[in-house]
Assembly symmetry: C2
Homo-oligomer: 427 residues x 2
């Protein structure tokens, strides 16, 4: 049981021939996969061990979820404020512990709003594009749909993701609680660059105001770097279908790699200018309070991050074979490497990454582990293709102080006690 | 208006700097984008042209679709048999004309069943793996979830997709009617190769029987080629969540590139042997009747295909700028090239492909076109990275005869009449 095993599947090369499992691996896997697998093997050579076939429901216009599948986000009113009245909720977190692969189902993509989720009438909605331009224009949804489009799989992450663990760790949190403000969808829309060229932006304009059509009117000043001009787009599609109201229907700005609140939902206005507008969303809100009491503005990029989703907080494991599974992402580019420690960050082993690892998208990682039944801590650490390494918590807090609230990307540690119970801890 | 325009966006290189639109392109686009865009531009420099901001609904556990979005599949009872009693439906087609990007929403993935869609209890369900193996085993869903997994974006296509146009063309069909039996999801599950190694398949076994848990008990013999051993997997996840009942919950076989009915849903059994089992699903059904009256068995791979989704059947266009948009896919590998003809297959121009173009997945293509208002026909033609070219209809029918029903992949032609009405035609 204490033997280490390693499935030699090469997930990185799906088109190549995979080497066979060794005899030793086969034995360890059979013993390690526990319970029903070994028990089933004893008298398995008959359909008597398999339930009878079942007649089904009529075919329909939509495939709904199984009655046996219970999946939901958790609405919260702030860090540590769960089980709230829905009217007080300001965000709703994705159940990372119950999902597979890299795509988040559209109805479970995390939600964050300052004044609820309006369902705007797309026939009435307009996007005004003006300011320092030669030819101000108003676009409706059909205008956008008739133009050249891009489709791209990218993560969007609330700048507050991880804020639960800034100061202390609640041992009863799940990964949905700690990291559920990040999701990955395939978004489709019109490149910002195309809009910029259609209105004829002045060369002197290096900032853009993006404003939402929600009652709060969230508005952010966005620097027009080459990267942003080349990658941002006005999305009308999400995982193949029109945006859902909670995610900005009928149009939102998508800013690959940058903080969630820049991805303005219910987008009604883009204005070009020379300077940032200093809206309340970048003065009173979304500024980063440093250790010295001063605040940093315009910390816009989401950093290199990762979290183990199985096993994770509140789960229970048994001694023997475990398949560690998790998600990694970086606003700088592609995830190049994820390492896992099963001994409290003393030693590290490389995890396998599901390919293709797309830039600025969540990537699934996996690793085999045989738990010996002794208390320990498990941690993941990601590195992106720009060389950014996810920091350990001590270094992170030393650099950021403990007054801050946003851009938490320290390594996440889960402890495992002698009963197999998994808990959220600081390090 | 007659000027041709070309947006010079390089969709293939999202990370590189895109060249600006030329002055000429800007003018053509402004004129060509028609109606509201140019009208809006006249007095656009004010928020008075944009609807007021709206308060929203409370945040919740799920983001539902907008009340303004109407999307549904079309259940049918066979070629040309629409508007049927749901109890008679045998398939339900994806609305390709209303979707964006490459991912199909899970509830709109096409559905095909011989005895409805059972919602099996995952706690009771078992997969028996036996036959020519050293150690027959029974797996439950939790066994699979605890094992190494792969996630892969692939299309699944019913072998009957396109059958509407085998013999004649109904001018009133939409692309949902003609091509709606293909969809693309991200699937997650356990590699077949891992199961094969766990049970210790005999070297002499070159075939596998896969059987479903639906009342019809669809069962197919699958040749264990290197390609299939390396790429097939037992899926439990679909677009990040558990499979939906219509798509095989709690487990299905995924066979990238091969006909839909081999992707056995509600999978209850894999049996290894020396020869195909000659089930009724490969003798009475799913055989291909040739021109000489003989039938071909085991024509398993889905060929290179493509279809223009905008504009497509029953749509209406106006003279001027159009953005042609469509989907291409191949069971052989990646789509390498899509060409579009706007003059009835006399001349062809390359379309832009959304990148990354994944192997055995649907890929979005686009091209600019300025319609001069004269009747014409538009056609797409795909080529994959193995050099397979989608055939024109005349060559296809000459090769396949007109008795056949499956594996239709001839080029799809849409006619445009002088009023702009788009219709399904044979060529």
């Amino acid at each position: 049981m204490g033997d280490h095993m390693k499935f030699s599947l090469d997930l990185a090369e799906p088109d190549h021939k995979r080497p066979s499992l060794s005899r030793r691996c086969f034995i360890t896997a059979s013993a390690g996969l526990a319970g029903s697998l070994a028990a089933g093997a004893a008298a398995a050579d008959s359909l008597a061990d398999v339930p009878p076939r079942e007649d089904g429901a009529d075919l329909s216009g939509h495939s709904e979820r199984s009655q046996y599948v219970k999946l939901a986000r958790i609405p919260e009113s702030g860090p540590g404020k769960r089980n709230v009245d829905p009217a007080d909720a300001i965000n709703s977190k994705t159940p990372l512990d119950k999902l597979f692969g890299g795509i988040t189902p559209s109805d479970l993509h995390y939600e964050r709003s300052h004044s609820g989720a309006p369902d705007l009438d797309p026939a009435m909605h307009r996007l005004l594009v003006h300011g320092m331009v030669k030819k101000p224009l108003v676009f409706n949804v059909e205008d956008l749909k008739s133009m050249p489009s891009v489709s791209r799989v990218v993560f969007i992450e609330c700048t507050g993701n991880g804020w639960e663990n800034w100061k202390k760790a609640d041992a009863n949190l799940t990964v949905q609680n700690t990291h559920g403000l990040v999701s990955t969808n395939e978004w489709t829309g019109v490149p910002l660059k195309l809009i910029v060229d259609l209105v004829g932006k002045d060369a002197g304009s290096h900032w853009m105001l993006a404003e939402g059509g929600d009652a709060a009117g969230v508005a952010r000043s966005i620097p027009l770097t080459d990267e942003i001009l080349n990658e941002a787009f006005i999305a009308y599609g999400q995982n193949g279908e029109p945006l859902r109201p909670a995610h900005g229907f009928p149009m939102r700005l998508v800013m690959p790699g940058f903080e969630g609140n820049l991805n303005i939902k219910w987008l009604r206005r883009l204005k070009f200018g020379e300077q940032p507008w200093m809206t309340r969303w970048e003065t009173a809100r979304y500024t980063q309070l440093q250790a010295n009491g001063k605040a940093t503005q315009f910390q816009l990029r989401m950093d290199t991050n990762s979290v183990i989703t199985t096993p994770s907080g509140t789960m229970a494991i048994k001694p023997g074979y475990q398949r560690i599974n998790g998600l990694a992402w970086s606003g700088h580019g592609k995830i190049a490497k994820v390492e896992i420690s099963t001994d409290g960050a003393n030693s590290w082993k490389p995890a396998q990454l599901t390919q293709p690892a797309l830039p600025k998208a969540q990537v699934r990682f996996q690793m085999d582990w045989v738990w010996d039944g002794k208390p320990t801590r498990i941690v993941s650490r990601s590195t992106d293709d720009q060389g950014n390494v996810q920091p350990d918590r001590k270094s992170f807090v030393a650099a950021m102080g403990s007054n801050a609230l946003f851009h938490y990307n320290a390594q996440q540690t889960w402890s495992v006690d002698e009963t197999g119970r998994v808990r959220n801890v600081l390090d």
